[in-house]
């Protein structure tokens, strides 16, 4: 089942990416980009990196692509201008950059000794295989280091010494940035809405 899903997502990711390159209409390109990026998110889920997968879905598929489509909507003046024209020089330039990037990736992939990775320390961590990556992140948000907690509980110390250790050690929590960013976003949203909306003053209307 996992193998089947892997091939499905991998093919969709590569196929989508190819289709982005081949397609000439910007809106359709955006659609294929969604397919490709969503499949990459699927690959992350398969690896047990569920937080990264969710972030990928939210930011790239949910945010970036929608922005792209909005951008096309707002800037395109007619239906014809949505197809892109690419000059010969741009083909050559893109080809050079693409091939060199492929070389870099190829070299770095081949440089890894995959036998060692599968058996050795670099392999997928067992404890995250069931997708428990969000819990440590959530604990870190309120300033509790899950890793240290686990090792200390696992060490079978007496409870008193454990408590003493935990109370002396301070770990940075990230609740404040989380909360204060919401105030910031509220303020900025008001600013954006102010700049975007038209003035509603009665005497202004009369003047026109």
């Amino acid at each position: 089942m996992t193998t089947f899903l892997f091939w499905l997502f991998a093919l969709a990711a590569c196929g989508g990416a190819l289709a982005v390159v081949i397609e000439k209409n910007v809106v359709r390109m955006a659609f294929w980009l969604i397919v490709s990026l969503a499949s990459v998110a699927g690959l992350f889920f398969l690896l047990g990196a569920d937080f990264v997968g969710a972030t990928q879905l939210l930011i790239y598929v949910g945010g970036t692509i929608v922005l792209l489509i909005f951008g096309v909507m707002l800037t395109a003046t007619g239906p014809l201008s949505r197809t892109m024209t690419v000059t010969r020089g741009e083909h050559v330039l893109a080809g050079v950059i693409g091939v060199s990037l492929l070389c870099v990736f190829g070299v770095s992939v081949l440089a890894v000794d995959w036998e060692e990775v599968e058996g050795g320390e670099l392999g997928v961590e067992e404890r995250y295989a069931d997708g428990g990556t969000t819990r440590p992140l959530g604990l870190k948000l309120i300033g509790i280091d899950g890793e240290k907690l686990r090792s200390e509980v696992g060490g079978r110390r007496s409870e008193a010494s454990l408590d003493a250790r935990l109370s002396t050690r301070k770990s940075t929590g990230y609740l404040l940035p989380f909360e204060i960013a919401s105030v910031h976003l509220l303020v900025v949203l008001i600013g954006a809405a102010y700049l975007a909306r038209a003035k509603r003053r009665p005497h202004e209307r009369n003047r026109h």
Binding site: L149, L176, H184, G191, A193, L195
Partner: protein, 531 residues
């Protein structure tokens, strides 16, 4: 059950330690929400947004004054630094000092907008939301103890600022200024973020306190300057962080946005941008320097020394360019924009002297910086407030149109005279004391490095030079006769405007005459940073 204990600890720490110390910021947040809810429920027809804003700012100011007694009057010489919110913020004398300055500034600012009426009733909630949002960012800048908070706070200060610059919609100049400011600001934010990520990545921590502890393990391990890659990365990251802050301070290679943004924005906003983000950025600069270069080890002191010399050069360039460019301006707002740039240079002298001299002598640089900042809040906001008041009366911001105004607006023109004297640095205005302290600190730092003597010489020449362009404004007001005297007949300042001018300029004079009380406080603040 240990988990519950941890949660209990966290809640207790947040509710009993962090939130009470954070009360002024919470009031600012609450004011933002009340302003917005007022429009939702239609209560802004009954209670105008400006009153909500004034009350909110005054409450925040009162709360921060309350902390003053707790910190300074307690008699414990250097109070312990309390880390708030699991170490993201720090509560120390500098925090309290800056909080009082910024909240007091917010009160004066809301008063000014009420007098000059730049946001009309319709736009009031938006304007004050942005103003309070930006001030909240400045408050966080002054107390951030973590690179993440540093970046977030700088952004919180800047982004509402972009909108405020473009607040007068439909004015082409205003929109252009906002766009310029936005593009430069986005670039600077990127540089700042890159710098923080380099430092955090190399040292493995984002906390400023831990950075200070880990610096000695990275710097100066190998022989020779910049020998190890980690050290080079740290230096590069520090340079980027300084560049990001220099943008906020409008120091010389990064000052291009300042005149355009100030000319495009209304005078009130120019006054806000010239004070609140800059004062906060100086506090943040001091914190970053103390974190990166505060450790007691030879190689780090060499590094701090080198960066101090760099800042001295930037400071000399900034004041020279600001003063030279100010000379040719005919628009008053633009003139004071360049004057603001020049003053960032003078203020930076204090930081440079602290970094170069180090130790007890260096503390006098910080003392001077904090004293100068307190004067700067009043004199610079005063100058821009007077520009706004005169604009409301004469609809002009050109120097030539100021001719003969003193007969019609004696108090306002008197206020301008005090502000200009203070900006030049002539006794009895407070600017003299600020400048004197910074100059003296740089002079004594000259024994460590003669570059500081050159800096003092440059600053002295600049001070004399600045006399000419400030005097132009005063000459127009007092000596020149108006071109058409009929126009002047109808001009007069409202009692509220006069009261505001007095409230802004009397402290400038008081700070020049009664130096002792505030200088004791700033000495205490400076000592608490290092000790």
């Amino acid at each position: 059950m240990t988990f519950e204990r941890l949660l209990d600890d966290l809640i207790r720490d947040t509710v009993h330690v962090s939130l009470p110390a954070f009360i002024a910021e919470l009031i600012v947040c609450a004011t933002i929400v009340i302003l917005l809810l007022g429009r939702l429920f239609g209560t802004d027809r009954i209670v105008t947004p400006r009153w909500v804003a004034i009350v909110g700012a005054t409450l925040a100011f009162a709360a921060s004054i309350g902390q003053f007694g707790e910190v300074f009057a307690s008699g414990r010489s250097p109070i312990e630094h309390t880390a708030l919110f699991t170490g993201l913020l720090i509560h120390d004398p500098l925090t309290v000092y800056m909080r009082i300055l910024l909240c007091g500034f917010l009160v004066l600012m809301t008063w000014l907008t009420a007098v000059s009426g730049i946001p009309d009733r319709e736009d009031g909630p938006d304007f004050h939301t942005l103003l309070f949002g930006s001030t909240l960012g400045a408050l966080l800048m002054a107390q951030s103890n973590n690179l993440l908070m540093l970046f977030l706070a700088v952004e919180m200060t800047s982004v509402p600022g972009y909108v405020l610059v473009g607040f007068q919609k439909g004015r082409r100049q205003s929109g252009e200024a906002a766009l310029k400011y936005l593009v430069y600001g986005a670039g600077a934010a990127g540089v700042l973020l890159y710098g923080t990520s380099l430092v955090a990545g190399t040292l493995g921590t984002a906390s400023l306190a831990e950075i200070a502890m880990r610096m000695p393990s990275v710097v100066g391990i190998n022989a020779g300057p910049l020998a190890s890659p980690a050290e080079r990365t740290i230096v590069l990251g520090s340079l980027f962080i300084f560049a990001g802050l220099a943008f906020k301070l409008a120091l010389v290679p990064f000052h291009f946005w300042c005149p355009d943004a100030f000319e495009g924005a209304s005078a009130e906003i120019a006054g806000f941008l010239s004070v609140a983000p800059k004062a906060a950025a100086f506090a943040l600069l001091v914190r970053v320097v103390q974190s990166l270069f505060g450790a007691d080890s030879g190689p780090i002191e060499d590094l701090r020394h080198a960066f101090g010399i760099g800042l001295a050069v930037v400071s000399a360039l900034t004041m020279t360019l600001g003063n030279l460019a100010a000379f040719g301006q005919s628009n008053v707002k633009r003139l004071f924009a360049y004057s603001t740039i020049a003053h960032a240079g003078y203020l930076l002298m204090g930081v440079a002297a602290w970094m170069v001299a180090g130790g007890e002598a260096g503390l006098r640089g910080l003392e001077g910086l904090f004293y100068y900042l307190a004067v700067y809040v009043f004199m610079n906001l005063g100058a821009f407030a007077i520009i706004a008041i005169i604009r409301n009366a004469t609809f002009s911001e050109e120097i030539d149109d100021y001719a003969g105004l003193w007969a019609r607006m004696p108090i306002v023109c008197g206020g301008m005279a005090v502000c200009c004297l203070s900006l030049i640095g002539i006794w009895p205005a407070g600017g003299f004391i600020g400048k004197f302290m910074v100059f003296a600190a740089s002079l004594s730092a000259g024994w460590v490095s003669p570059v500081m003597w050159a800096l003092v010489a440059a600053a002295a020449i600049n001070t004399v030079w600045s006399l000419f362009y400030y005097a132009r404004v005063l000459r127009a007001m007092y000596l020149e006769s108006p071109t058409d005297s009929d126009r002047l007949e109808e001009i007069e300042a409202s009692p509220f405007a006069n009261a505001l001018v007095l409230a802004l300029t009397i402290p400038v004079l008081l700070l020049g005459v009664f130096v002792e009380p505030l200088s004791r406080v700033t000495a205490f603040v400076a000592r608490s940073i290092v000790g």
